[in-house]
């Protein structure tokens, strides 16, 4: 069988699997967040934490809960990383330096999982288990919570209450992430991912050399890392490491898990707002963008575009034999389109335009289908923007799902859309203005610019993947990228919660002949156009100097 046919069949199986679970899982999620009942274990957690699950929060209190939770999470994770030497299971690793610990704490709390360090060289098992893996769950649950709060903005009428952050958080963990992660971890372990607490093991190889293998609780961490679109690796090689991703089957499973929740959330949205067709429109836009991106990435990788791939006869530098080019392109595209940022190949060694598509996936603002929660949020914000633009063009009152898009709403949306580009362009500008940060670049020419651009785009979009040639473990990059991650995560979240509060306070406007239909294919087309134009106008100059200059020369 040819590589192309095998690759197409693999994509087909992935799409079928996602299609099969779309409606049941999407509807299940809708029930989870609509339910009035609390499970016994959830009641137990609320009692221990002295939280009243019956209380409803205004958007400001919801946002304060989220920010307070994130603040203590960053602080405790920072301390855990700084003090790991004196804590158990450190495997002899010393504490991380201040800027490195700050970067990593922020990175995992913001669902980014940018890793300046090499896991096997600096992380003890306690830091991985109780710090990084826990935040993989909690940052994903936070993303889900904000998405659900925004949906409530379109569901509720004449109220200033948008739900209870603690209930949304705990339900996301207990009813969604934990059961799926447990099952996925066992499947990964069945494929050969390690789950072991033994330390380093040195032995003599067959030829007589020494080799030291490292193991750890990898399967449990990798499962939530991909399911929660976190993407942090236990080891430096991330999902290319055979102990994290042992076979082509585990590779496909991880690709599936990255796409799983982001791709079903439009269904959940459609269910909760009582109009599945509105969900289908958002899903269609995500699917179109994902398919176009996958086609481009695969074509560039499989036709070994670029100097070295052409010389070698395949784009195999930085790719694993068991995955091959097609499955690596599928994984890489899905990891950057979902804000997971995991990698089963070296993205820095991708072909110039193939790597450019990975960058573009993030520049779209992570909406194809985007991160867990974040993807749906980004798409809804663009939907509001699209009805506003359409309203201006044809002179109709901008409305979406019976809510008027007034000055307040569109201001919040505009700030949301500008937040990420601001963090990216200011960060890249600063990095390139100083000689120190410029020296961290590995590859010469336009590719070097792409390394820096990629880093800030990845951080500000909370993706976490890297053109890993950049030596990013410096005080400058650790601090600047951490600030980009914080800015790119929490400013948009607060804006979205304010938007939810503003929408929930409105009374539903009845549908009239002047209402733009937002549940039909034409609106999907408009929405796609808005997404592409917003990105294109903002980032075309930067792309032209980086991947386009390299790929089209």
């Amino acid at each position: 069988m040819s590589d192309a046919l095998a690759g197409l069949l693999t994509i087909g199986v992935l799409v079928l699997a996602l299609a099969a679970v779309h409606v049941p899982l999407g509807d299940y999620l809708a029930r989870v967040y609509r339910s009035e009942r609390h499970l016994p274990v959830e009641r137990f957690v609320y009692r221990l934490c002295r939280v009243d699950p019956g209380a409803q929060q205004r958007w400001t209190v919801y946002a304060l809960s989220l920010l307070g939770f994130a603040a203590v999470s960053v602080l405790l994770l920072y301390l855990l990383l700084r003090l790991q030497r004196v804590l158990p299971l450190s495997l002899g690793h010393s504490g991380l330096p201040p800027s490195g610990a700050f970067n990593t704490a922020v990175s995992f709390v913001t669902n980014t999982d940018w890793q300046w360090y090499s896991g096997e060289a600096v992380m003890g098992q306690l830091a991985q288990l109780a710090g990084l893996a826990v935040q993989n769950f909690l940052s994903a649950a936070t993303g889900l919570a904000v998405a659900v709060a925004l949906i409530r903005g379109f569901v509720r009428e004449g109220t200033d209450e948008i739900g209870n952050f603690w209930v949304d958080l705990v339900r996301s963990v207990i009813r969604v992430l934990l059961p799926l992660a447990f099952l996925s971890a066992l499947l990964l372990a069945a494929c050969g991912a390690v789950q072991d607490f033994a330390g380093a093991h040195t032995f003599t190889t067959l030829e007589g050399g020494d080799q030291t293998i490292l193991r750890g609780p990898v399967a449990s961490q990798q499962a939530i890392s991909v399911l929660g679109t976190n993407g942090g690796g236990y080891f430096n090689a991330n999902a290319a490491h055979p102990y994290e991703n042992p076979t082509a089957l585990s590779n496909l499973l991880q690709t599936f898990l990255m796409l799983l929740i982001p791709s079903v959330l439009p269904r959940t949205f459609g269910r909760l707002v009582g109009s599945p067709r509105h969900g289908w429109v958002l899903f269609a836009v995500m699917a179109v963008l994902w398919t176009v991106g996958l086609t481009l990435t695969t074509v560039f990788e499989a036709t070994h575009h670029g100097t070295v791939p052409r010389e070698v006869g395949a784009a195999l530098e930085g790719k694993e034999t068991r995955f091959g080019v097609w499955n690596s392109a599928l994984f890489g595209h899905s990891a950057t389109a979902t804000s997971s940022g995991a990698n089963d190949a070296s993205y820095d060694s991708f072909t110039p335009l193939g790597g450019g598509v990975l960058l573009l996936n993030m520049l779209l603002g992570e909406i194809s289908p985007g991160g867990i929660g974040g993807g749906l949020i980004g798409m809804l914000v663009l939907a509001v923007l699209a009805v506003f633009i359409a309203g201006l063009m044809v002179g109709r009152t901008p409305e979406y799902l019976g809510r008027k898009i007034r000055q307040r709403e569109i201001t919040l949306v505009a700030l949301y859309v500008l937040a990420m580009p601001f963090a990216v362009l200011v960060g890249v500008g600063l990095a390139l203005a100083f000689p120190g940060p410029r020296e961290a670049i590995l590859n010469p020419g336009p590719h070097g610019l792409t390394e820096v651009l990629y880093a800030f785009v990845s951080a500000a979009n909370n993706n976490g993947s890297a053109f890993a040639g950049l030596t990013s473990g410096t005080t400058f990059y650790n601090t600047a990228l951490a600030l980009a991650m914080l800015f790119g995560r929490f400013l948009p979240m607060v804006l979205v919660l304010a938007l939810a509060g503003s929408l929930a306070a409105q009374q539903r406007v009845p549908v009239s002949s002047g209402t733009l239909p937002t549940h039909q294919p034409m609106f999907a087309g408009l929405l796609t156009g808005v997404a592409v134009i917003v990105t294109g106008l903002t980032f075309f100059p930067a792309l032209a100097l980086g991947p386009l200059a390299e790929g089209l020369k």
Partner: protein
């Protein structure tokens, strides 16, 4: 507002501690318990024993440089390659002259050692993997090495070629991933046949 911030942050701290017990201890221990019972060998790292001692893992590639062994792909993990304490890729870009130079040197070396025309050296022999620990080579690269290995060990080339075929793994379910040969397992079989 300040009152809310203080109260919710305190709740957040309690929530973080409670959920850390659940997600940071109970969850990984449950996965550990089940996987150690159900797939003990794999959960421990798929170690391979030979003559009563561990010689490697079927998932982790290791260095072979002698003429009588099948060689793995180039590796960027550690100074000498295949060091699991430093997994990773070269991260050299597709237009990087340094990478092009490495490719040329690898092509010369493989072409010389295995007696393969330079233009026919397989791509995976010229490129480092993403993990630096790739346990596999392509069937093509394994076959290209068969003559050298057979010669060094005084074995019949056909016998060695049969071993390569016997250790060639197909795509999962016939279409997922790529065909590959596990270098360590092949070399163990080679040892048994010598």
């Amino acid at each position: 507002m300040t009152r809310h911030l203080f109260r919710q942050t305190a709740a957040g701290l309690r929530m973080l501690l409670v959920l850390t017990v659940l997600l940071g201890a109970l969850y990984p221990l449950a996965v550990w318990g089940v996987s150690q019972l159900a797939f003990h060998h794999r959960a421990e790292g798929s170690l391979i024993h030979h003559e009563g001692r561990v010689v490697g893992s079927s998932l982790i590639g290791q260095r072979f440089t002698g003429r009588g062994w099948f060689h793995p792909r180039p590796s960027a993990a550690g100074a000498e390659g295949y060091d699991p304490r430093a997994s990773g890729a070269s991260n050299l870009g597709p237009d990087n002259p340094e990478l092009l130079d490495r490719v040329h040197r690898r092509r010369d070396a493989v072409s010389h050692a295995d007696g393969v025309p330079a233009a026919e050296v397989p791509p995976d022999a010229l490129t480092a993997s993403a993990s630096g620990l790739d346990p596999h080579v392509s069937p093509d690269y394994a076959h290209r090495q068969a003559a050298r290995v057979a010669d060094a060990r005084g074995l019949d080339v056909r016998r060695v070629t049969e071993l390569v075929d016997a250790h060639t793994g197909g795509r999962v379910l016939g279409f997922i991933g790529a065909e590959r040969v596990n270098v360590l397992e092949l070399n163990l079989a080679l040892l048994a046949a010598s």
